[in-house]
Symmetry: C2
């Protein structure tokens, strides 16, 4: 992290300097050195390949971490929700892209207010659309403020969720954007989340090749209509190197690389990508001991399970442990090899979450440590500014 | 809800009176009339069967709802974590049972402080233990305050998580509790969460019969050691009527009955139990439309998926819809019958969460409505006081 402590929340200062083993469990601990290495490696890779990096803040929901990413060269951050943008703007962010469609008029009023607010800080707001109705509703809100917004047309490049089909369908949307005074057609968003988790490099390469054809077809259709595409944004932690190599992306939205998680670590490693380290851990304590298992105090309310249960991180000289479902508030730990000794009552256990984004969303703060997980001390408390901002 | 508005958070008053369809999505909406009926039915059932009701607040994490439960006759509330107790005590609660083991000395200091705080309000704190080490650590903390704590020995009655084996193993723990000046052996906790979700009534009956034998064996062992059991606490929404009928329970800890959820609604209904209604819904909006599906703005960050994906609630004259996984921030909706019309862009959709407890934990507030889901208005904003309190 940067040198600056979190001065917005003085009560956090009381834990700065505390040994990790005194933290209240379960809690999220960030290895700040590993996080910094991840941030630097991604920034250097994007700079070397001459693409913009706009990391997704839905992963960390923290203005502090966004600031560190921007100090390393990011052009701004992505957010997924309007309230997430508001939470980050509240604590200083000014260059944001809402990577999601917004339809409700009351929410679009908030988008327009945000555009005006960040314009006053020499910032810029962007948003994504995939319908004429959405463009008109956004236009009605933007007409009420003195600020502009960058508008990207989302194309569906294989995720089969939001976005118009690639090709011709983007043309009337790009034209409609241009008809609103405070709106600029800023380019395309092309993101396929599923391909980020394709296990083999070969599968990711094939999927990106398919995406590239679809982006090119959309560029061609827009070009034929006299509409150049200023920028294509997208890409993720699993495949950004392949996505950059496709030549179709100007801006990468990867987010998870700052923390990594068990799901991304299960991907076959792409040797063309920089290596990222697990920097995010759930610290939990053994609070009950039985003959064949022990129970720790971390359950579904401490870590998300959409990408599976967490893995137990153990040092080389420790008994490997397996985490089993213990419900909302507990985890069951057993030895990976039957008969091996189990940790004693009160022992601290480190978990690597299955999926970092929704795990961070469960916590108010991240405890940033230096000096190693076992014997380190809290160096910095990172607020999860946009926790719970789903709207 | 009671007549009292939530005066602690004046900004909430701005949404009181707002039509439901103007709420920012996704959000949690509570049908206050249904919630009140659930609270009254459970209270009446327990009163008629002469058992105490101590509802679990891990479900709602809200002082407001706890107060309504106590007005209907509950003797206090259960909580699962120390920080959850602190959050509720901060806003007025004074009769709490921590239904979980606590081992860390720093957390036990907070338990002792809480005991002293609630004693000053004529309240009482309870806690659960399952180890001599935990009792000694609690005793060391309690020795520093001028207050008492009720201590229950947890026995493992089939959940195979925390708790000592039924029978003799409880005796040395009950004896050890009695050796600490500020600690009272208050009885046994016997909770089997798994049996609450056994799908058939017959399976739940059989499981409760097994539990009853184990409680009785523990009573017998304690009795033989000259230790009467003041109270047995446990039971849940799925099987409380059977648990009460076993004659072994003095106090019921059910929580989910206030909201219900898809998982509990999948249980075969026990005709001996009062009927509970779904009172908790995720309100979400269609924000993208494609040829074969529409996308709503509620994903894993809006509802927990440990008990499966949410169900779409539809009125009788509406097309039944199926919710599919759209990731952290989206849901995919398709018609249950292929070819049926899909909802239009901007439509509002109501979801019944798979599991209420961890879903509530994702939100800052619940919007309490009266006048029906479709055309009602916000009557009361319920703060989720203990949101994220996992420690």
């Amino acid at each position: 992290m940067s040198a600056a402590l979190d001065t917005r929340t003085p009560q956090h200062l009381t834990v700065v300097g505390m040994p990790v083993h005194d933290l209240p469990t379960p809690c999220l601990v960030v290895d700040l050195d590993a996080l910094n290495r991840n941030v630097q490696r991604m920034a250097a890779y994007c700079a070397r390949h001459k693409v913009r990096l706009r990391p997704h803040a839905k992963t960390h929901k923290s203005a502090d971490i966004g600031r560190v990413q921007m100090q390393a060269g990011a052009v701004g951050v992505c957010v997924q929700k309007v309230s997430e943008a508001e939470a980050l703007v509240d604590v200083g962010a000014s260059k944001l892209l809402i990577t999601n469609e917004v339809i409700a008029p009351l929410k679009l009023m908030r988008v327009a207010e945000l555009a005006q607010c960040v314009a006053g800080r020499n910032g810029q707001l962007g948003i994504v659309v995939d319908s004429l109705q959405g463009i008109d509703a956004l236009g009605a809100a933007m007409a009420l403020v003195h600020a502009s917004i960058d508008v990207y047309v989302e194309i569906n490049v294989g995720q089969n969720r939001c976005g118009v089909p690639p090709g011709e369908a983007a043309v009337p949307l790009a034209q409609a954007i241009g008809q609103h005074a405070n709106m600029r057609f800023a380019g395309l968003q092309a993101y396929n989340g599923k391909l980020q988790h394709a296990r083999t490099v070969a599968a990711r390469r094939q999927a990106v090749a398919d995406v590239a054809v679809q982006i090119q077809a959309t560029r061609d259709a827009l070009h034929a209509a006299g509409l150049p595409v200023p920028l294509v944004t997208g890409g993720g932690t699993g495949a950004f190197a392949i996505e950059i190599a496709s030549g179709q992306y100007d801006e990468i939205q990867a987010g998870s690389y700052v923390f990594m998680d068990a799901e991304y670590m299960d991907n076959e490693r792409d040797p063309s990508q920089p290596e990222f380290e697990n920097s995010l851990f759930v610290l939990t304590q053994v609070m009950s001991v039985s003959a064949d298992h022990v129970v720790c105090d971390a359950g579904h309310k401490s870590h998300a399970i959409d990408a599976g249960l967490p893995r137990v991180w153990t040092a080389e000289d420790e008994t490997p442990l397996v985490f089993a479902n213990g419900g909302d508030e507990h985890g069951i730990l057993r030895a990976a090899q039957p008969g091996e000794a189990l940790p004693a009552l009160g022992s601290l256990i480190w978990l690597i979450p299955g999926h970092c984004d929704p795990t961070v969303n469960l916590h108010r703060r991240l405890y940033g440590v230096r000096g190693g997980l076992r014997h380190g001390r809290v160096d910095h408390v990172i607020r999860v500014d946009a926790r719970g901002c789903v709207q």
